[in-house]
Amino acid sequence: MYGKQIDTLNLQISYDTKLDNATYDAIKAFQINTVNSGTSDLSDIVNSKIRDIEAAANSFFTSIGSSFNMVGYNSEILKEYVPALVFTMYDGFYIYSPFENTLDDETAQNLANNANAEYTDGQEVTGLKPYIYYSCRYKTASIDVVITYSLDNYITVQGTVNGGSTTINDAGYLINGVQDNGSTVTYRGITIGPEGQLTEYLDNQIYSYIKINGVKYYYDPSYSPQEDAWFRILNGQRVYRQGNIQLGSNDQAYRYYKEAAEFRQRLQSYGLLNLKPSDAVDINGNQLQGITDAEGNVVYDFVNSGTYNIFDYESGGVSIEEPTSNFNSHRMAVIRYVIESNLSVALSNYNTVDGLSYNFRMPKLAEEDWDKISSNVCLISFLQGLSIGGKMYNGYSVVNNNKNEEVVTEDSIYITTSDGYYHKATSQELVSATNMITGVFNIDFERKSIYETDAAGTQTIAYYYPKRELGCYNCYVSQTSNTVTNNIYEYMDSHPNVARIYYTALARERYSMYKVFRNPQEHLNSFIN
């Protein structure tokens, strides 16, 4: 009797660990693929993302299959027990799960006559379901908008204001206290302006570069004609583009703050600054209140959760971009609501897909897991319905992806110094340092690959580090000399010399990320002479 219960609990623990490990393997595969995908082409960026996610899902099943082989499950059988893998992204998420492939009659007929057809009608296939945005609809007497949130302070607003007479479609960063001085801005008492041209290595040669809308363009001084000397890397090869990009200083940090200040004014003119959580409605226009879980406990109530304004740029001394702001708590609540409501439907629908007698149900995720989900790109994996003796296993695992091109988090900026090391922004060594050079996005320290052609015309893959600085032993490798803080903005207020470099880099990297909202060509043109 005792032995049985102990076996059950031991199995549960070992399954939890196996699930964690498989989830981490999937994240690792995703990281390696995104860093090296090299197909960051404007038209291809979404496809390459989907391909990377599918590769990550495959490595999840390979990994979990190999660790479960010992107990007699292979990866094909385990697919039955994984009702969903959730890949959370910058402004929404993908659910990877099995579904019934429904074809129209004509296609089904055509495929039925084709001996080589891969798909049949009603067949169960595993794949990515359509992308779901972290969005919420708000409705008042004069406003009816949908706001899409993201993992940072970037929002997209679409809908009508002024009682339906004005249609808006706008996006921008929410930042408090930006003052535009023409070519520089003042932010939290710090003047931020254009910075020097950025440089990085491609194999063994150093190039000036600029990252625009998620694509890095390098300047080749030896190329002729000089006006077409900028190239990007596509599938490991150099692709030269026509037309020059501004060489010299990089003003993306300035543009980031300036555009955020302009966005604030536009939000004000739309009349959105007084929007409250209680204005949130579902697709039918009903208020989001009293939403209960299976046990009847109220889990979501946007009506009675506070009477603050969502877009309070400053309240009680807290700026909107700080982690403790009202905006952030509402943002996290929306992200959680969107994921939980969609996922619980996907999980319970899974019952109709598979032939198992187990009743699939969404487990309750811990608070700290929700914190992870709403602050960085994650993979949430579920494994349910395996018999572990006395009961059925129902577990999940959440693993953060710390190295991705989806989001620039506050933790992902490192600062280089002239002695050839890079440091965490909160390193105590930087406090009185005078040799700081620039802030760098963490994935630029990752190893990349490129095809090189030698004189004889043979192609080899060359591995290289774009930035050659080494991790500081005290603050990066062993992490013993960092100031631990929950609010980096407060930390920076008391360290203005670090703050200027840190905010410049954070702004530059956020501004140069790929944004769906932008018109890519127009955006690129704004950098062309």
């Binding site: 031991n10 623990i13 490990n21 693993v399 710390n402 190295k403 933790d411 991790g471 992490q479 631990v484």
Partner: protein, 179 residues
């Protein structure tokens, strides 16, 4: 006279069978339960550190407390292998086609505890980074009742030093930050 001796031997045997073995069996079960508690607590502790990238005195105290509830004393050994990617980077620069090798260096229990011991009333956090390796081994240091009994009955096999032991380890999957 022979009968009396037989009686005494029968009583002793009966006593051993009726009290000794059930007691041994019960105390073994009790160790099983302690074993379960220790395994669960160790796994949870390590997995928590691995997935949050943080180790605090609170986490360590919670582990100590939940295993102490079994009524035994334990020795907790932690090992943190800190990933150092720098040597790999240097090699790669010498030959751009070569893949770098990573180096780990270790921190053990006493060094870890020194780092997370609160000082001056402030809590300290040991933050880990993705790619580090953390493991913990827990063993009992007292002699449990089951150990005493089995050492008494099975003296031939020699004394066990510990019967309750749990070990768990794995890669850290998150960069620790915050308090």
């Amino acid at each position: 006279m022979g009968d009396t001796w037989m009686m005494i031997i029968a009583f002793v045997l009966a006593a051993i069978l009726m009290f000794g073995f059930p007691l041994m069996s019960m105390s073994d079960r009790s160790d099983d339960i302690s074993q379960l508690t220790v395994t669960t607590a160790t796994t949870e502790f390590v997995d928590n550190v691995r997935t949050t990238g943080k180790l605090t005195m609170d986490d360590y105290a919670a582990l100590e407390q939940s295993i102490a509830a079994t009524g035994n004393t334990y020795d907790i050994e932690m090992e943190l292998q800190v990933l150092d990617e720098n040597p790999g980077k240097k090699t790669t620069q010498a030959d751009s086609t070569k893949i770098g090798e990573n180096v780990y260096y270790s921190m053990y229990t006493s060094q870890i505890l020194d780092t997370i011991a609160p000082s001056g009333g402030t809590k300290k956090v040991l933050t880990l980074k993705e790619g580090d390796w953390f493991s913990t081994t827990v063993r009992n240091t007292n002699t449990t009742l089951a150990q005493t009994l089995s050492n008494f009955f099975y003296t031939v096999t020699g004394n066990d030093t510990y019967v309750i032991a749990a070990q768990h380890g794995g890669y850290v999957t998150a960069n620790g930050s915050g308090e």
